[in-house]
Amino acid sequence: MKKLTSTLLLTSILAVAANTASADTLSSVKSKGFVQCGVSTGLPGFSNADASGNWKGLDVDVCRAVAAAALGDAGKVKYTPLTAKERFTALQSGEIDMLSRNTTWTLTRDGSLGLNFAGVNYYDGQGFMVTKGLGVKSALELDGAAVCIQAGTTTELNLADYFRENGMKYKSVTYDTSDATIKGFEAGRCDMLSSDQSQLYALRIKLKNPGAAIVLPEVISKEPLGPVVRQGDDKWFNIVKWSLMAMVNAEELGVTSKNASSMKSTKNPSIGRLMGGQGEKLGLGDGWAYNIVSQVGNYGESFERNVGMSSPLKISRGLNALWSKGGLQYAPPIR
């Protein structure tokens, strides 16, 4: 329903707005006083509302960072929970200002949906989760299996590729919400659940008995997940991109939420540039990055807090370690 509504909204906006010359998202965000951020409907560690309705997670922190940079207050975010199917229409139609919902950067999405990917906040890959009772050790033993997946994801495509490549057959049971996907898996409708590995770990803790499920070792695809904005508003695109980059750079430079204020008076020029100045080039105030780091924390802090060892997910940094520590997280310099 929401889907149809946003499609109609999209159609009518596109139809009526006589040549919307690159709408200025920053001004509209400033005038309404908050960032409208599209997130998942509930994926522990990435974007999930706690019992009192506060959104938390690695993806949520990107929304918060943008609000800190643009409005000076990380709390000024309103969240729109979106299923995989709804997310792009919601962004295209202007229902949300940005999308930060474990979304894979692909050529089609970047090239033909009118979207721009503003970086990668989690390097992931698709995997499989099975019940222990099935006695399967590798995905290659899964010929003829039924797979629970979510509609409108890269998962659907990778799965078809993988099984085809290995000459195996499968039945995909495609649900439109992640809740239904987990329930289907739990009820035994499928032999396995497939999604990006990080989501498998996240969904596993939602199971009634998480210990009964295991994630298989195979990773069958590249899933660079990151925040997305509409095409045609370069200023806003830059702000979202550099908000994420500021978090990564802060980790690299050793600036954390705790030491940010003392770092303000540092002699290190790189840290100096991060903590002050540079803002006007993005159309922001001077303390934009300071606000991000002091209110949200650096990338490493956010990672540990939400999905790392100090969270229930216990995901190791792996590919998401800084480039200097053998990972892929590498942010262009702030200068």
């Binding site: 139809a15 040549n19 949906l113 009118g114 085809r164 495609t174 439109d176 239904a180 035994g188 409708r189």
Partner: protein
Amino acid sequence: MSDHDSDLKPSKPAIWNDPKYRALFFQIILVIGLGYFIVSIVDNTLSNMESRGISTGFAFLNEPSGFGILQSLIEFDESHTYGRTFFVGLLNTLLISGLGIFFATFLGFIMGVARLSNNWIVAKVATVYIEIFRNIPLLLQIFFWYFAVLASLPGVRQSMSLGAGIEFNNRGLYVPSPVPEDGFSIVFWLFVIGIIATVFLARWANKRQELTGQQFPVFFSSLGLIFGLPLVVFLMMGSPLSWDYPALKGFNFQGGVSIIPELLALLLALTIYTGTFIAETVRAGINAVSHGQTEAAMALGLTRGKTMRLIIIPQAMRVIIPPLTSQYLNLAKNSSLATAIGYPDIVAVFMGTTLNQTGQAVEITMMTMGVYLTISLTISMFMNWFNKRMALVER
């Protein structure tokens, strides 16, 4: 307008005052305005999509889809095109709507008549059924049937055998499929001939009854024609038909015909839900036939059953059909709730996955709306035709 002038003959008004021309003029203006409105909306949409970097057009229909679909009535795998996903989804929608309409009508008629029954228990059962299922939102019922039923069914490895090779578990209902062997086509054609012959027989019997008043046992003779004769021949030829039994191979049952639980749950929910409305429609229709008709029929010595079948129902049909049409339309449209439990109908497949993989929201939404419009108009047209046929024919 006062007629203070002396001229009694009405003068011909000027052309801009002539109501005939005026009306025409405003209609033309309206059409031009509407046309301009539509053209500019389409044009604006296209140019805005272009400037926002959103692809447009229908070229995507020829691209390979790259995803699998759980149930398809035509051959489909991930190498087929997006265009084909449209037809796969469409056929699945038609399947669930068709089955739903059939079963809901059946259930609805039984329950509608039952609610009027003189038997206290029968009437109460029907009342309780109607009042409960009419008042629970359909989506909840769909979830209920799907998850509650799914969860209570045994897993594949503990599959329930229902006899005759039928297997039932949480992956679906598996039924042996017939495999015709040499000579089976003779039996098949006998069956077809039996049906045609029955049609002629019925016509002949009708005419004879009109002319002479004599009845002919059409029902039993047609049973013999359609089923009896082919069966005898079938047995004489040594049963040229074998069965492909479903068997557990690897993770799932293979062979036979499988009916997925998504279809079962959706069908159950749509049937039970729409059945309540049809039951009420039927009850209203029967109540609308005046009691005098029943009394007159009884006075003529017709049995209760015959009174119902020959006197009441045909008259009630005239009241029943128009609202019945609405129920059919509702059912067809409600079938799009399929997407909630992963039944691959057109909304789930085409407006869901295909839309998401291609991003062509405007084209795909239009096509899908076109489908529902066409289905609805077709149902309406058919029911209007049926209604005309059932209308009171005066002799």
